[in-house]
């Protein structure tokens, strides 16, 4: 009640405000944002499913999609979700070495996945499937491209946190900074867990 009259330590003051729910503002906000993003990807996935057989001209799913490479990318992305948990664990324990090791691995996984997608896309273009070749191609590139953009943004985000961790700016009481990025990262993974079967596995069996 008399908080206004009390002297404040400026470092701790903005870390923990009173909240009505037992969850921090920023964590609630990222969950809210993720909920909103679900609708974004749901719409893109629906669009892909509608147009997956629209390939009267140019290649269709069976002609271009390769499962082995993408499976490795999927595995790497799945592992990265585990790695970021380990990194967060390190941050919460104040174990700098653990934090740096696992966070570096997470960033590497992000880079690997993005690189895999760049390789895959250029490969498709060389095989004669450009962005506008047919509607299958357009909706494929739009859906996986937007997921890839999310991966790229997440990797950039984690990389800035890696830099912070390197400079010792993520002590245990600031591990929330990493936790929020990790929540976003898990979401990006989960979306891929839906995209991978719908785009690669089901489309192959479909026609």
């Amino acid at each position: 009640m008399t908080a206004a009259a009390l002297p404040h330590d400026s470092a701790s003051a903005h870390e923990e405000h009173h909240t009505s729910l037992p969850v921090n503002n920023r964590k609630l906000a990222i969950w809210t944002f993720i909920g909103s993003e679900c609708m974004f990807f749901a719409s893109l996935i629906t669009t892909f499913v509608i147009y997956r057989d629209s390939h009267a001209t140019g290649p269709g799913p069976k002609d271009v999609l390769g499962v082995p490479l993408v499976t490795s990318g999927t595995a790497v992305l799945l592992f990265s979700s585990f790695f970021v948990v380990m990194a967060l664990n390190g941050a919460q324990q104040g174990n700098r070495k653990k934090l740096l090791t696992w966070l570096s691995l997470t960033v590497l996984c992000g880079l690997f996945f993005a690189g895999m997608q760049v390789y895959e896309f250029t490969h498709f273009v060389r095989d004669g499937m450009g962005y506008t070749t047919n509607l299958f191609a357009t909706s494929f590139f739009t859906l996986t491209g937007f997921h890839g953009t999310h991966v790229a943004i997440g990797t950039l985000w984690l990389a800035t946190l890696l830099k912070d961790a390197w400079k010792g700016r993520i002590p245990p009481e600031k591990s929330l900074n990493l936790e929020i990025a990790a929540l976003y990262w898990h979401f990006v993974d989960v979306v891929w867990i839906i995209i991978f079967p719908v785009v690669y596995l089901m489309s192959l069996g479909h026609k």
Binding site: H17, S54, L135
Partner: protein, 623 residues
């Protein structure tokens, strides 16, 4: 509410110019005022567009404007009123009053809030800039593909629309995250969800709709952008694309959008009726649940906008029934409002006039809505002026009447002066008469067969006199807002200073000085009941609150002003401008240098923003 005597303030730090203060502000109240001021200017622009439309339709075979300009007028009128007027005027109230109503110092993310504001303003300017190039959007506010495709809409007109809406969507989503978090997490001690003021409930439900509906139109706009600028064919029939996909994506957004526009109006009226009836809101929990139910159903009825597209009898029946269901929770709300004023000791002040006007007009709009829900009847009414009458009764008779009620009700708190009552009531009567004279005849011109969106109509169809009535009504309606502006100006110059609690209010915002100090509450309030201020006054045995003292905010943490929200918004604008000029101008760059620059500005700003210290001690002297 006890007050704490605070230490005297230190001398203010380096004086910042007024302009810089407003450009860098993160105070939710200033953000709210900027939202309101810019949205009101856009509202006047949308109003002028409407007046020109009405003058063009005043008589048969009229040639006041060209058919091409007419298309631009009705597209921009719809786009402006929905995205640049009603939503942001509501956002003004969200910004200014949600923290005050829940007893908070600010919103959860003040700088994100400022970013929403600047993104909105720049997005609005971006769309309207098209007028200067004589290429305002001309494909309707619904942007139906393939009408909005490059083939049927060459030129940059629809590019402005589609990119502008993308910008505005970002503002809405950022605000959605912010207010959802603020309301769930920043409530005063003891303010459970079922003790929240009804307006806060309406904002919470609205934000859920924003968060779930806007991503869908974002995808629709991305697909349209792929078609128009990057040569894709999502909506091109000749390349196996499907225009129905546009309609589904658009209306999955578009129908909840209707509730995004009207739910805040429900909230405002639910605040005003109890205060001016001196009775608590009747059926509070029924009101809450019916609002949530309306929002839920709002997502299941989008296809009632598409009865005429040939979805088939099964789909038509389903969406018809689901649409009629919405009448039930809406009816619950209306009867609760009537229950609130029933037997109350009514204080006939301007806000009550507008709130009662809202109920009457909204009932009219709701009844014609039920008529549209009947799919076979809708096939007759669709694309006629009957539809125009219906949605203006809902969105003008509903939203605008309620927003005006809110403006008169909350003006004293926002600006420290009470708007003139006589002028306010004049405004009300002119608006009520003008509104009904404009839109009631449209039911008849629509049933007589006058289509929407037509540039003119021949004589001898019996439509001339109905249109003349509508035009006269529109001029009166327009004039009523000149009275409002005159009221604002005279009140500004010579209005009486407002006490903290001019209406005998029920909610927390009236417990602090008018206008509130930067830190809102000198002491954070604690709440034990609904209608928290009434409960406090009852406990103290008073009807009006004694004037609360103005205190120094020494020691209260407030967020620091920041340039980065503005710069982030500028980066986003530049990014979209790059996509816009890429279409016709420079196919050479795969991404566009301008867009790359915009992206760099936005990314740099967000980076700087993340490393900025979030708050500081105030050292303002109480003013």
């Amino acid at each position: 509410m006890a007050t704490t005597v605070l230490e005297p303030a230190h001398a203010t730090t380096a004086k910042r110019s007024v302009l810089v203060e407003w450009l860098t502000t993160v105070d939710h109240k200033r953000v709210g005022i900027l939202y309101g001021a810019s949205a009101f200017i856009f509202f006047l622009m949308g109003g002028i567009e409407a007046e020109i439309i009405r003058l063009q339709l005043m008589k048969p075979d009229n040639h006041l404007v060209s058919p091409e300009f007419y298309n631009q007028l009705f597209t921009m009128h719809g786009t402006t009123m929905i995205f640049l007027a009603v939503m942001p005027i509501s956002a003004m109230f969200f910004n200014f009053f949600v923290p005050l109503l829940i007893g908070a110092r600010d919103v959860a993310f003040p700088r994100l809030n400022a970013m929403s504001l600047w993104v909105f303003i720049l997005g609005g300017l971006f769309i309207n800039f098209s007028f200067l190039l004589n290429s305002a959007p001309n494909g309707g506010w619904f942007g139906y593909a393939p009408l909005s495709s490059r083939e049927y809409s060459p030129g940059v007109n629809m590019d402005f629309w589609m990119l502008g809406l993308q910008i505005l969507g970002i503002a809405s989503l950022a605000a959605g995250v912010n207010f959802f978090t603020t309301i769930l997490n920043m409530r005063a001690k003891g303010m459970t969800l079922m003790r929240m003021p009804m307006f806060v409930w309406s904002v919470l439900v609205t934000q859920v709709l924003v968060l779930l509906a806007f991503p869908v139109i974002t995808v629709a706009l991305i697909l349209l952008m792929a078609d128009r600028i990057y040569g894709a064919s999502f909506f091109e029939l000749k390349a196996a694309g499907d225009p129905m996909l546009w309609q589904h994506l658009f209306w999955v957004f578009g129908h909840p959008e209707v509730y995004i526009l009207i739910l805040p109006a429900f909230g405002i009226v639910s605040e005003i009726l109890p205060v001016f009836s001196r009775k608590p809101l009747f059926g509070y929990s029924a009101m809450v649940f019916s609002m949530a139910f309306i929002a839920f159903l709002g997502f299941g009825v989008w296809s009632h906008h598409m009865f005429a597209t040939g979805m088939g009898p099964l789909a038509d029946s389903f969406f018809s029934l689901a649409t009629m269901l919405i009448a039930i929770p809406t009816g619950v709300k209306i009867f609760n409002w009537i229950g609130t004023i029933w037997g109350g000791s009514l204080q006939f002040k301007t806000p009550l006039y507008f709130a009662l006007g809202f109920i009457a007009m909204f009932i009219m709009g709701g009844l014609s809505g039920v008529m549209h829900a009947v799919a076979p009847a809708d096939l007759q009414q669709t694309d006629s002026y009957f539809v125009v009458a219906h949605f203006h009764y809902v969105l003008f008779g509903g939203s605008i009447f309620a927003l005006a009620a809110g403006a008169y009700y909350w003006w004293p708190k926002m600006f420290g002066r009470v708007l003139n009552e006589t002028l306010g009531k004049t405004h009300f009567w002119l608006m009520l008469i003008g509104f009904n004279l404009t839109f009631f005849p449209m039911h008849f011109s629509g049933l007589l067969g006058m289509p929407r969106r037509i540039y003119t109509y021949p004589a001898g169809l019996g439509l001339g006199w109905l249109n003349l009535l509508s035009t006269v009504g529109a001029l009166i309606l327009g004039f009523s807002f000149l009275v409002f502006i005159y009221n604002i100006i005279t009140t500004w110059r010579s209005g009486e200073p407002a006490p903290a609690d001019p209406w005998g209010g029920a909610t927390l915002e009236w417990s602090i000085p008018s206008p509130p100090q930067e830190w809102n509450f000198a002491v954070e309030p604690e709440v034990h009941e609904k209608d928290a201020l009434w409960a406090m006054k009852r406990a103290a045995g008073v009807r009006m609150l004694p004037e609360p003292p103005r205190v120094s905010g020494q020691g209260i943490h407030l967020p620091s002003p920041s340039w980065w929200p503005l710069f982030t918004a500028i980066g986003l604008l530049v990014f979209m401008v790059g996509i816009l000029v890429r279409g016709p101008v420079s196919h050479a760059f795969p991404f566009g240098l301008i867009s790359a620059a915009g992206f760099a500005i936005a990314a740099f700003s967000i980076f700087k923003w993340s490393y900025e210290p979030p708050d500081h001690h105030t050292s303002h002297i109480a003013h």
